[in-house]
């Protein structure tokens, strides 16, 4: 695949993806009935916005350093059923949606990394994948807390 | 004193004795038994404690030679060469009119210490020969107590024990309180670490104190007195007992003194060694045989003091000023000093100072003059960092404030207090957090345990300081220290509690960055806090081996004339290597 020729292109792609996430959570926040869950989703959106700003910072010359140690994968997203997005979602369902989104992003970046030849670009994709894995872990941990008795 | 013989006078104060004066004295006695024909006498402390023992030889013609740092070997030499041979040894003598001694003595103004190291404190005649007891005689003949009080008031004399309250006013209160019985008390419960002014005066010129007390008793209408002296001062107690006995013998104490109707006697009470007993209400409780715990004032001692009777309490130095004031007049006394602080003040210089000892300086002199001109600075390449004034109740004055004048009110502005006169000089190797901890530890241990804020509050502060020194300080510790300090200061019964936070407050005020380094960077720049530092030998090392030889755990390796290395695993961070290194080659990391 020759699409990825420069680091900047990769970053533009990633930035656009983060913006999509912002839009997704914002949209969902407006949709849900529960104000508390709305706030939570708005919080997710703000976090994604933070990720986007981080990437903009990288584009402006900062460094994106991937985690040294692999991020723990609790693999919850692998086994939980897909949730239908709707206004009466519970916290648990929102967490499932979120962790699955992050999982997809992680997979996307990992796959892209395997497809490019420029080592700098590959490194960047892997670092982005790590970032997404971290986000996923955060949601998985919250879900695990929810399953106190299970 | 025979004109035919030389006289040799040995300094026999606690400080001289600690330096080896008894051995010197013994050697002279032995030689006299072997036929050496001299007059042997003793005297007290001259204040030059950095070069003791001292021996003064007075030739037949009256010329004097002061020998310093007199070792047993030197005294043998002095006996052979000077006493027997008539050839003074200039190299061992100190010429008080030359060099550093001029700086040292020239800036001093000796009122209280005038006789110290000059007369024999164990002979009343020596004191009388200096005009002693003339002041008492005069006030008794004139028989106008109110006039005596006016004179003391006019002199501007303020209490030398710390607070700086007008002595004349204090006397007047006691005078105005009519009672069948009144007391005077001499507070000689000197307890500040590093302070020894009272001890020296009591050991070197006890009669000055007795005379001052007799005058005070006469002026206020008291007929009985106590000297509350630390039991740790056996020599002072011995000389006081001797002086009292001699004064009684001469009719200067006891019934109908000098044939007048005035009767007055003095008891010496040995304190149990509790610092808090220096607080006047606790001191009186202790004399009464009760636990030395302060009580609230009012009533003040001048209204209801010892056994409920009007009582005048002054400290040793204050009493010792009285005879001079009566003899020379208030105007002479008031002629020196600042607007509100008159006369002179005795200080005990200790710590990182070249010429440590007792000095008596005119009020108004600057701290810099005392520390650098008189004391000669640190005596090392290091700079003076601060001076701790007023002991555990006082504070640390930083170098940049050394232009502060010796004046009760000026000193208070720095956050320290004049105190009884302890001055501990600190250099760059002193950690200011550690200093605060040291003094707070002292007050915490010495708290009588009565009041909540002092008993528990100072302990909690001490625990925080200890934590900081051990590298376990937390950012919230500084505000907590400040808050506790402020509350203890304003919510304590006695001076001990009210002033206990001062060392912490002043070090926080002037050396906050050191606290912050300890807490945030886990670093002690002074190399004092063992958990926060390590020592390393730099390439300035010339391989003199001094550090290796002084290391208590033998963890410094290196051959002569080669760069030495410290084994960090075995190093206990005592800092001895740095202290002994002549080349400043040991660095703190």
């Amino acid at each position: 695949m020759s699409k990825w020729n420069s680091v900047d292109e990769v970053l533009d792609f990633a930035i656009a993806r983060e913006q999509e996430a912002v839009d997704f959570y914002c949209g969902l926040a407006k949709k849900v009935d529960s104000p508390a869950l709305g706030e939570l989703l708005q919080g997710f959106a703000d976090e994604e916005m933070g990720h986007k700003e981080k990437l903009l910072g990288v584009k402006a010359g900062g460094a994106l350093i991937g985690a040294d140690t692999p991020v723990t994968d609790l693999k919850m997203a692998d086994y939980l059923v897909d949730v239908e997005v709707g206004p009466d979602m519970s916290l648990a369902e929102i967490l499932i949606v979120a962790m699955k989104r992050e999982k997809a992003a992680f997979k996307l970046y990992t796959r892209l990394a395997s497809m490019v030849s420029d080592p700098r670009v590959r490194k960047l994709f892997l670092a982005l994948a790590q970032e997404e894995a971290k986000h996923k872990l955060r949601f998985e941990i919250e879900y695990d807390e929810y399953l106190t008795e299970g | 004193m025979s004109e035919m013989r030389k006289t040799i006078v040995v300094g026999m104060s606690s400080c001289n004795i600690a330096a080896g004066a008894e051995k010197v004295y013994g050697i002279i006695r032995e030689k006299m038994a072997d036929g050496l024909d001299v007059n042997l006498s003793i005297t007290g402390c001259l204040g030059l404690c950095f070069c003791e023992p001292q021996v003064r030889v007075i030739d037949e013609d009256g010329s004097e030679h002061l020998y310093v740092d007199v070792t047993p070997e030197r005294i043998t030499g002095i006996i052979d060469e000077h006493l027997k041979g008539g050839r003074p040894i200039a190299a061992w003598a100190s010429d008080l009119n030359q060099g550093a001694m001029v700086k040292l003595l020239g800036k001093q103004r000796r009122i209280v210490l005038a006789n110290c190291g000059r007369i024999n404190p164990e002979r009343i005649d020596d004191y009388l020969a200096q005009g002693g007891y003339q002041a008492l005689e005069r006030v008794l003949r004139e028989n106008r107590p109110a006039a005596v009080i006016d004179e003391v008031l006019a002199s501007g004399l303020r209490g030398r024990g710390g607070g700086g309250f007008s002595t004349g006013l204090k006397w007047r209160f006691a005078y105005n309180n009519k009672a069948d019985k009144k007391f005077v008390i001499c507070n000689a419960d000197e307890g500040d670490p590093g302070a020894f002014m009272d001890r020296t005066v009591l050991e070197s010129d006890p009669h000055a104190v007795l005379e001052g007390m007799a005058i005070g008793a006469f002026a206020t209408g008291a007929d009985e007195a106590y000297i509350y002296c630390r039991a740790e001062y056996p020599l002072a107690v011995k000389r006081l007992d001797l002086a009292i006995a001699q004064a009684r013998e001469r009719g200067l104490l006891g019934k109908s003194i000098l044939g007048t109707p005035f009767s007055f006697d003095i008891h010496v009470k040995e304190g149990a060694g509790a610092f808090v007993c220096g607080e006047e209400t606790a001191l009186m409780a202790s004399i009464e045989g009760r636990r030395g715990m302060p009580r609230i004032r009012p009533p003040f001692p001048a209204e209801a003091g010892l056994l409920g009777k009007p009582t005048t309490i002054n400290n040793v130095e204050t009493w010792a000023n009285i005879p001079w004031i009566i003899r020379h007049g208030a105007a002479d006394f008031a002629a020196q000093g600042t607007e509100k602080s008159k006369g002179s003040k005795v200080f005990a210089l200790a710590g990182k100072i070249k010429r440590g000892g007792l000095v008596e300086v005119p009020m108004g002199i600057t701290l810099d003059e005392i520390i650098h001109d008189i004391g000669g600075g640190t005596g090392s390449k290091r700079q003076v960092k601060a001076v701790q004034m007023g002991g555990p109740s006082g504070g640390c004055v930083p170098r940049q404030l050394f232009d502060t004048r010796i004046d009760y009110d000026e000193v208070v502005k720095t956050g320290a207090i004049m105190g009884s006169g302890g001055m501990v000089v600190m250099d760059e190797t002193t950690c200011m957090v550690d200093v605060a901890r040291y003094f707070l530890n002292f007050t915490q241990l010495e708290s009588c345990g009565k009041c909540t804020f002092c008993r528990i509050g100072t302990t909690r502060m001490l625990e925080i300081l200890t934590r900081i020194c051990h590298g376990r300080g937390k950012p919230e510790d500084i505000p907590m220290l400040e808050d506790l300090a402020d509350q203890i200061k304003h919510t304590s019964l006695c001076g001990l509690g009210q002033t206990a936070p001062n060392p912490v407050l002043t070090t926080l005020r002037y050396f906050r960055d050191e606290y912050e380094e300890h807490i945030h960077e886990k670093r002690c720049r002074a190399g004092k806090c063992r958990d926060l530092c390590s020592f390393e030998i730099t390439d300035r090392c010339v391989g003199c081996t001094l550090c290796a030889r002084n290391c208590p755990v033998n963890c410094i390796a290196g051959a002569s004339k080669e760069l030495h290395v410290i084994d960090q695993n075995r190093c206990i961070r005592c800092g001895v290597c740095r202290d002994v290194c002549p080349f400043d080659a040991v660095a703190v990391r």
């Binding site: 609790l74 916290l91 399953l147 008795e149 | 009565k450 200061k489 019964l493």
Partner: protein
């Protein structure tokens, strides 16, 4: 007599010369705290809690020993004064060792006066014991069987051998009184004429109704089920909690005047708006009724049940059919109850599948053990990932093995599936018991949390709507019954305040000093107690019990109860209601741990025939020392040591026993804390009567 005039809190006062500020203030009814002041003694000024401000003075002065002077202006209350007083109290607390209340009592969510009721039981006074229990918790027969008894975890007797069987003792008290035929019906306050709707007849709702009646209000209790008890009935099998026990305690609440409307569901049969319109206040004790979904494929397959659904059904019909092989998923009490119930309904092979290890199972250890004894197999570190209806008609459950990962930032080791470890298990039924969620969807207008629980104040039970209060699982999320009972009682107090038009502050919170958790306590507290084993609860044999739903635990004999109750160490301070340190700590909102550091160690001198001296509680006020000197004319006790090590001790280092008995009562009486107490004083933290709490006021 000479008189002087001065200003006290802005008021001109003329008093005799020599009057202290404290005396003048007291005569005016102005509160000034003090420990060391005593009218009989000379002023001392040691505690410094009595400080006041005098115009023109930089520091604060102790009012107990400062005389009012002509023209003086004194202020006795200000921000600065309160701060100094709080600091004073906090400093004293930092050097004070002891427990105000027994750790059992402070650990109990309902705050039952455990040492008090246990003492009654030891003395054979079962009714008094029950009255004291019901002061805080109206369902002792129910909770005496099912409570997870956090109290016993902190029982100091553990330092000797084993904890007191607190929970089973209160079951005995309740069963005993019921068996007597005369139930305890507490006295009610005069009727207020107000009516309260209670939604939910579970532990929270029943408790709220009980206490609301005692406070003079009438309740109507609505519940969607056909009977009262909530989760205790529909979530706990009858072999643990026979249904007549629930009925017995509900009957008392009915007797108090509560009306019950069953089969009435919020949002269906009644609405919150309607309740608000018809009643003066509403309490919501909805519980956590919704089974958490496993969110795995095939969860909807026939034969997959939820834990509470299954327990509810079996509690309605004890002849319910269940398959031969039953797999229960989850590690909580519901999972264990479901497994044991399945056995009783005839299942032959019952296993519990749990993601973590046995140590992490939230279920009560005794229950897990009983389940294993009955033949339930524990299948740990395993989880289902999919369920299919097999061609054979059975459920094909794909399971995966788990392992615990590295501890994360929170210190938890989380289960992670082992790739490739998937395997198939064939069962008749799967019971998913991984917890419950709150369903508050029918509470429109109420603010909910992100967990969908009702956003209510945990202490007061207040919600965003003044009139509506809530408590129990619907606020806290699924929790133990005793917590819900406590929430119901606290809400009743708040509702009472609301109904009377007062500020809703909830139950007063009193200061409690603690020696710490059982793991931190000085082992010396356990000295002098002989080892006596804990009474064992008699149980039915396994063969007998799995054949039906007869109660497994059959209850203590009277002899066992008296002996067990006598094991109580009577922790807690006997001076708890008179102690001024506690009173001021409450008044000034003091924190025991604001200042931490070296403190007194446990040091009890019980050598005296009548009196105990707990030096670790002494605050050095000096009252006893001065009383000895000034009034009794002895030097029985005196101060020793300096600084933080200063102590009050019998003179000459003698034990207290040698102190002249003369006036010892006076010393005890004048001790402002519980350092000197009479041995015949009993532990009495609470009065048995439940009354409207008076606002705490010092002294």
């Amino acid at each position: 007599m000479e008189r002087i005039t001065f200003a006290l809190d802005g008021k001109k006062l003329t008093v005799a010369k020599g009057t202290t500020i404290l005396e003048a203030a007291r005569a005016e009814g102005i509160f000034i705290p003090t420990f060391c002041h005593n009218e009989k003694l000379k002023p001392f000024a040691s505690c410094f809690v009595c400080v006041v401000e005098i115009a023109g003075r930089a520091g604060l002065v102790p009012s107990c020993s400062t005389m009012a002077a002509e023209g003086m202006t004194v202020v006795t209350d200000s921000e600065r004064i309160r701060k100094a007083r709080r600091t004073c109290v906090e400093l004293l607390l930092s050097d004070h060792e002891g427990d105000c209340l027994g750790p059992c009592m402070t650990t109990c969510p309902a705050g039952i006066d455990i040492p008090g009721f246990v003492k009654h039981l030891a003395e054979g006074n079962d009714r008094a014991a029950l009255e004291l229990i019901k002061r805080n918790m109206p369902l002792p027969a129910v909770l005496g069987r099912i409570c997870t008894r956090p109290c016993e975890g902190e029982c100091r007797r553990k330092l000797v051998e084993e904890p007191i069987a607190i929970c089973q003792l209160h079951r005995f008290a309740a069963d005993r009184v019921s068996a007597s035929g005369v139930e305890y019906i507490p006295r009610k306050a005069p009727s207020s004429g107000k009516r309260v709707a209670v939604v939910g007849a579970g532990p929270a709702g029943l408790s709220a109704a009980y206490y609301l009646h005692l406070l003079g209000h009438r309740c109507t209790v609505f519940d969607m089920h056909e009977k009262a008890g909530g989760m205790t009935r529909y979530g706990i099998p009858s072999y643990r909690l026979p249904r007549e026990v629930i009925e017995r305690e509900v009957a008392v609440i009915k007797e108090l005047g509560a009306e019950f409307r069953f089969n009435t569901r919020l949002g269906v049969d009644i609405t919150l708006d309607r309740l608000c319109a018809d009643f003066d206040a509403v309490f919501l004790g909805l519980g956590a009724q919704l089974a958490k979904p496993m969110s795995i494929r095939g969860e909807e397959t026939e034969g997959v049940l939820s834990g509470i659904g299954f327990l509810g059904a079996s509690s309605r019909d004890e002849s319910l059919k269940i398959g031969r092989r039953v797999m229960v998923v989850g590690g909580g009490n519901t999972a264990v109850d479901a497994a044991r119930t399945a056995l009783r309904l005839g299942a032959g092979e019952v296993s519990i599948l749990y993601r973590r290890t046995r140590a992490e199972m939230p279920a009560w250890e005794e229950e897990i053990h009983a389940a294993e004894k009955e033949g339930v197999r524990l299948d740990i570190l395993a989880a289902p990932v999919a369920i299919d209806q097999g061609p054979d008609g059975f459920l094909h459950v794909t399971c995966i093995e788990m392992e615990l990962g590295e501890p994360d930032a929170s210190g938890r080791r989380r289960p992670i599936p082992k790739p490739g470890s998937e395997h198939l298990r064939v069962v008749d039924n799967v019971i998913a018991a991984i917890g419950q969620d709150v369903d508050a969807s029918d509470c429109s207008g109420l603010r909910l949390t992100k967990w969908q629980t009702i956003d209510a104040d945990l202490h007061r039970g207040t919600t965003n709507i003044d009139k509506i209060f809530a408590g129990g699982d619907c606020v806290s999320g699924a929790d133990i019954a005793v917590t819900a009972v406590a929430a119901g009682r606290r809400a009743a107090v708040s509702i009472d305040q609301y109904l009377r038009g007062e500020k809703v502050t909830g139950e007063p919170v009193l200061y409690n000093h603690t020696m710490g958790r059982i793991t931190e306590v000085d082992s010396r507290v356990a000295e002098g107690f002989d080892k006596v084993p804990r009474a064992a609860m008699p149980e039915r044999e396994v063969e007998e019990r799995i054949r039906g739903f007869a109660e497994v635990e059959t209850g203590f004999s009277e002899a066992a109860v008296r002996q067990e109750a006598a094991r109580c160490m009577e922790c807690g301070c006997r001076d708890v209601n008179e102690c001024r340190l506690r009173s001021y700590a409450t008044e000034f909102h003091a924190d025991q741990f604001h200042y931490r550091g070296l403190k007194r160690v446990y040091e009890r001198d019980d050598s005296h025939a009548e009196v105990v001296y707990d030096a670790h509680k002494c605050i050095q006020c000096g009252n006893c020392v001065r009383l000895s000197e000034e009034i009794l004319g002895t030097s029985a006790v005196g101060f020793t040591g300096r600084g933080i090590s200063a102590r009050v001790r019998p003179a000459m280092g003698r034990p207290l026993a040698e102190v002249d008995g003369k006036g010892i009562d006076q010393l005890v009486e004048n001790c402002p804390v519980g350092a000197l107490i009479r041995k015949d004083d009993r532990v009495a933290a609470l009065e048995p009567e439940f009354k409207r709490p008076e606002p705490p006021h010092p002294e």
